[in-house]
């Protein structure tokens, strides 16, 4: 890989592809993960999981399991409740998920009993000896069925006590399986349809998929001296702290969370997962407890929402969208997880990035007896974009308008009035469409193969918008050591995205220091200040801003001290090359190390910074025009595919994506992120699906659940990295960790339509689905 030399005092640290901070440790195998943590007297936990999607537990006999040598405890929900005397139900939005099933199991793979033993093998053996009696109950296996009158209720009563109202409008409907229902209306839908020349309707479905992190979930919990310490594979250590504490009647400061490296998150490690049970066992047994899941178990912990997206659009002859009605059903599985957030946040963009005067969006987040679904890269937007971008193409075909022109005619301009009532701020999707069209040669594209030939080629396009979490808060500290080395203390988690590297670059730039002189502190909540989590594309923007603020605080202190030492007013001083110099006479200076030794010998200086956003999604309930997000993720993409008419196999020949990074702090990392997103989108498009049969997951392993391999990547991936400079971002930067996922499926499917004239509405696009559609098309 070509790499620029390390930064020096001369050059800026911004816009440079410096090597990743986490790279050497990971490549050499020295990087520490939660599963590597070993504590004295540590026990190993294993969990017995439900074999049924829905059943009453009538009896659990743990006596035989308890006799296995090395087993220290076999516990059920009843044991935890009785012996801990605390709440054993947790959740992200609704407090609805028990650490161990209480009387009823609600999905296959739900934890029913736990074993703690001296060795994992003993725990494993004991699992096989636990005898559970179930009385099967009829399960609800998809969102549509769950809405039917008389459908069994996955939760007899919804516990609304623990809702986190801050994020978004939230409306669970008692007596139904809907844990969030929301309707957004703009204009007069009926009038819009009445005025339309063409009405197009469709249903687009996408299945549940897995995060497939390289590192499975892992937690070590230890309770000692009235404090609970957890080492865990979490994207959101402070969310763990703030949500774990109350479960055990502990104050936040009594919970310490340590996060070393995390081997991939993609949203699947953003809320409580293994931490509650591991902590409960540690508290119960008075010994540290480690719980690491197997690959198979990973499939039962969390997933992406299966979505049914129903859309009806009215258009004028000249291609102006006049009305759109969307109904979006999100199958959130047995526990709400972040489902209410996912549904709301992707739901309010479900009409797509288009200025449509009359809109109705009906958002339903629905409990079923399946694996819980939560956040997964793109947060529901890939599922809705699959629908609205496919339909844009259908409209273009019906009207005989180029799909690019149709999008360009309707896409929101910067400042456009969004369905939320807000004016879209710093929204440059129109430019990105132009850029992707130019880079891909859209206007001069030629379909290669003639009709009738076995192989056919085609081009497709898609563009999407996604928000970022808000309101949220990030705090940061920068410690300047007596030797003049800066240490960044931040709760942003390195989940493989390169955040640590980018934050170091931002700190270095803000302090005028070379990146080599900036290091990152271990992520320990006893050391690093608050951050809501490494989620929603927010770290570069939010934590980046907090670090810039902390650096400003440190700069101010340095100038004040230097002013005293040099006897020159602050206004006449500048920071340059790890020193403070006199503006007019740069040779008169005092180095950072000298300042620290004079001002705070041995202690060092501490700069503090904070960044918080106030925009909130809850405002859209009132459509009061407040911003709903601090920045918008926008991107546009073009795919060129080749379809084999004999087998139905699709090959992606070329994929071009234009995404706006605001400012690329580290261009190589930006490109890596975008390429990774496209590959993840390829997986969602062609390969990935959690397959259920009668409520049983039938492919919970990498033998049967296929992620794309390198041999499945498009032959060529081209990235146009736009840098429009976000006015609120640190040095103009914003997040790009999710932006390029949602276009992949529709862009490819639209290209398939262009190639062979079939319209696919179900993901994944397996060759069999393609072949069946081709045959059906040939007949009809």
């Amino acid at each position: 890989m070509a790499m620029e030399a390390g930064s020096s005092a001369k050059g800026s640290s911004i816009g440079r592809s410096i090597p990743r901070r986490d790279g050497a440790g990971k490549v050499s195998g020295s990087a520490i993960y939660a599963a590597n943590i070993v504590r004295p007297r540590m026990l190993h936990a294993k969990v017995l999981r439900s074999p049924l999607p829905r059943a009453r537990i009538t009896a659990i006999d743990t006596s035989r399991a308890a006799k296995v040598p090395g087993v220290r405890a076999v516990v059920t929900a009843r044991d935890l409740q009785a012996r801990l005397g605390c709440e054993i139900i947790f959740g992200s939005v609704l407090i609805d998920q028990p650490m161990l099933a209480i009387d009823e199991v609600r999905h296959v793979g739900e934890p029913v009993a736990a074993v703690a033993a001296e060795e994992p093998e003993a725990a494993e053996e004991a699992l096989g000896l636990i005898d559970v009696q179930y009385e099967e109950l009829p399960p609800v296996l998809n969102a549509r069925d769950a809405l039917a009158p008389g459908a069994p209720l996955v939760h007899q009563a919804m516990n609304l006590s623990g809702q986190y109202k801050v994020f978004f409008a939230f409306n669970p409907v008692a007596g139904t399986n809907m844990c969030n229902h929301h309707v957004i209306t703009v204009g007069d839908l009926q009038a819009g349809f009445a005025a339309s020349d063409l009405i197009v309707e469709g249903v687009y479905t996408s299945p549940s998929t897995q995060h497939c992190c390289m590192e499975p979930h892992a937690t070590v919990a230890e309770y000692a001296g009235g404090r609970l310490t957890v080492w865990t594979s979490s994207q959101a250590p402070y969310a763990v702290q703030t949500r774990l504490g109350p479960l055990f009647h502990l104050r936040p400061e009594q919970v310490r969370v340590v996060v070393h490296n995390v081997g991939g998150g993609f949203g699947g490690k953003s809320n409580l997962k293994l931490e509650p049970l591991a902590s409960a066992l540690a508290m119960l047994l008075g010994r540290p407890v480690k719980h690491v899941t197997t690959r198979r178990e990973e499939f039962y912990i969390t997933s992406k929402h299966a979505v049914e997206y129903r859309v009806k659009t009215g258009v004028s002859k000249d291609g102006k969208l006049l009305a759109r009605r969307c109904e979006v059903l999100y199958d959130t599985g047995a526990y709400a997880e972040t489902g209410p957030i996912v549904s709301m946040k992707s739901g309010y963009t479900a009409a797509g990035p288009y200025a449509i005067p009359n809109v109705l969006i009906d958002i339903k987040c629905i409990y079923t007896n399946k694996v819980p679904a939560g956040s997964l890269r793109g947060l529901g937007v890939p599922q809705v974009a699959w629908g609205h971008e496919s339909q844009m193409d259908e409209i273009a075909t019906c009207l005989g308008i180029d799909p690019f022109d149709l999008r360009r005619r309707n896409v929101y301009p910067d400042g456009g009035l969004f369905v939320s009532g807000e004016n879209l701020r710093h929204f440059h999707l129109d430019t990105l469409l132009d850029e992707v069209a130019a880079a891909s040669g859209w206007k001069t594209r030629r379909r290669a193969a003639a009709d009738g030939a076995r192989l056919a080629r085609g081009f497709g396009m898609a563009c999407t918008m996604k928000n970022s979490a808000s309101p949220t808060r990030s705090q940061a500290r920068i410690w300047l050591s007596p030797e003049g080395v800066a240490e960044v203390r931040s709760a942003t988690v390195e989940i493989g995205q390169g955040a640590g590297t980018v934050l170091v670059q931002l700190a270095a730039e803000s302090l005028g220091m070379p990146v080599e002189r900036v290091r990152l502190a271990l992520l320990d909540t006893d050391v690093v200040p608050f951050d809501v989590g490494t989620i929603s594309d927010r770290s570069t923007f939010h934590m980046g801003n907090a670090i810039v603020a902390a650096a400003a605080d440190l700069r101010r202190q340095l100038l004040e001290h230097a002013s005293r030492l040099l006897e020159v007013p602050k206004e006449n001083l500048v920071l340059r090359g790890e020193a403070v110099c006199v503006l007019e006479a740069p040779e008169r200076k005092v180095s950072f190390a000298e300042i620290v030794s004079a001002a705070a010998p041995e202690a060092g200086l501490l700069g503090e910074g904070e960044f918080a956003t106030t925009s909130r999604l809850s405002s859209i309930a009132e459509q009061c025009g407040e911003w709903t997000t601090p920045f918008w993720d926008v991107a546009a993409a073009v795919a060129e595919v080749e379809v084999d008419r004999a087998t139905g196999k699709i090959k992606v020949l070329r994929y071009v994506c234009a995404a706006d990074a605001g400012r690329a702090i580290n261009p190589a990392l930006c490109r890596q992120q975008l390429a990774g997103e496209i590959l993840m989108g390829i997986g969602m498009t062609f390969h990935e699906e959690m397959r259920y049969e009668n409520g049983q997951l039938i492919n919970p392993s990498f033998v049967d659940y296929k992620m794309p391999s390198l041999r499945d990547t498009p032959l060529s991936v081209e990235i146009v990295l736009a840098e429009s400079g976000h006015p609120d971002g640190p040095f103009g930067a914003k997040g790009i960790g999710e932006v390029a996922v949602p276009q992949v499926s529709p862009a490819i499917s639209n290209a398939v339509f262009d190639a062979v004239g079939i319209r696919l509405t179900e993901l994944p696009l397996t060759p069999e689905r393609v072949l069946r559609a081709l045959r059906a098309g040939a007949k009809g």
Partner: protein, 292 residues
């Protein structure tokens, strides 16, 4: 995964002794690429693993009458690169090259692949087309069996208790014989194949008046064992220009298969693909036959 004892016998006789001593509790370990997966899934719970790595020359490839004898422990990558094998059995080489990925092929052995008896495996389809035989031994005696009779069912072979696979005898492909190996993956490129097909035949004449005779077609991955397509002799010799008869041949292939619906595709789809592979294979044979 449960604890087990790991033995490294020095001879075939020792290995077979260990198998007899531990009976059901023992498993042979070759490259481990399939075995370890089964251990992790709890499909096998052995007390003893008998490793074959240290038995001398069990990975040797030597000339045998009319062909090659491949030691059971020969690794797929080594075989792919083996000059004599490339010459003697290009069909097998083509199949080996498509197994999994290079990391798997660097460790996996041909013996392990056959004994694992996964119907989706690539080499068996080619080996049946080539009329290869296995050499089975119990340390004292050995016997020989066509690969077609060695493979019985899902993960089941004709190995008797206390017996192991010593080697595979692959007849030399004759001069003028052409061959094709094809596989189709329905999901990821690195997935197990949904359908495999091997064809061996001889093509005579000068382009465009080519005719294919002595054709052997084997389809794998669809049934518990590779299926040798029957009843094609009456379509032979098959002339390259006889489109109708070529189509009849493809339909003959499709008609004989009994695929099942599974994660890799429906029975209908797999049958379509088998037809596609058969047509492709024929075209390829003729193309090879036309080459000077």
């Amino acid at each position: 995964m449960r604890d087990f004892e790991l033995l490294y016998p020095a001879t075939i006789a020792e290995a077979c002794q260990a198998l007899r001593r531990h009976g059901e509790g023992a498993r042979l370990l070759a490259g481990g690429t399939s075995l370890v997966q089964f251990l992790k899934e709890g499909m096998y719970v052995p007390e003893v693993l008998v490793a074959l790595q240290r038995i001398p020359a069990l990975d040797a490839v030597v000339a045998a009458d009319g062909g090659l004898r491949i030691g059971a422990m020969a690794r797929l990558t080594d075989l792919e690169r083996h000059a004599a094998l490339r010459q003697a059995a290009p069909l097998l080489r083509a199949a080996l090259h498509l197994v999994g990925n290079v990391r798997v092929r660097n460790v996996a052995t041909l013996g392990g692949n056959l004994c694992h008896a996964d119907p989706h495996a690539d080499p068996p389809t080619a080996l049946v087309a080539l009329r290869a035989e296995v050499v089975l031994g119990d340390g004292a005696q050995s016997r020989q069996l066509p690969v077609a009779e060695f493979l019985l069912d899902y993960y089941e072979t004709a190995l008797r208790p206390g017996e192991l696979l010593q080697g595979i005898i692959v007849p030399r492909q004759e001069r003028g014989q052409v061959s094709v190996y094809r596989r189709f993956t329905a999901v990821s490129e690195e997935d197990w194949p949904c359908v495999t097909l091997a064809a061996v035949g001889s093509v005579r004449g000068r382009a465009p008046n080519l005719a294919c005779a002595a054709l052997r077609l084997v389809v794998g991955a669809l049934e518990p064992r590779p299926r040798l397509i029957a009843g094609i002799d009456e379509l032979l010799p098959l002339e390259a220009g006889d489109a109708a008869r070529r189509e009849t041949l493809a339909e003959t292939v499709m008609a004989q298969l009994a695929p099942v619906d599974d994660l890799l595709g429906s029975a209908w789809y797999k049958r379509q693909i088998a037809g596609v592979l058969a047509r492709e294979a024929l075209a390829d044979l003729f193309q090879q036959g036309a080459a000077p």
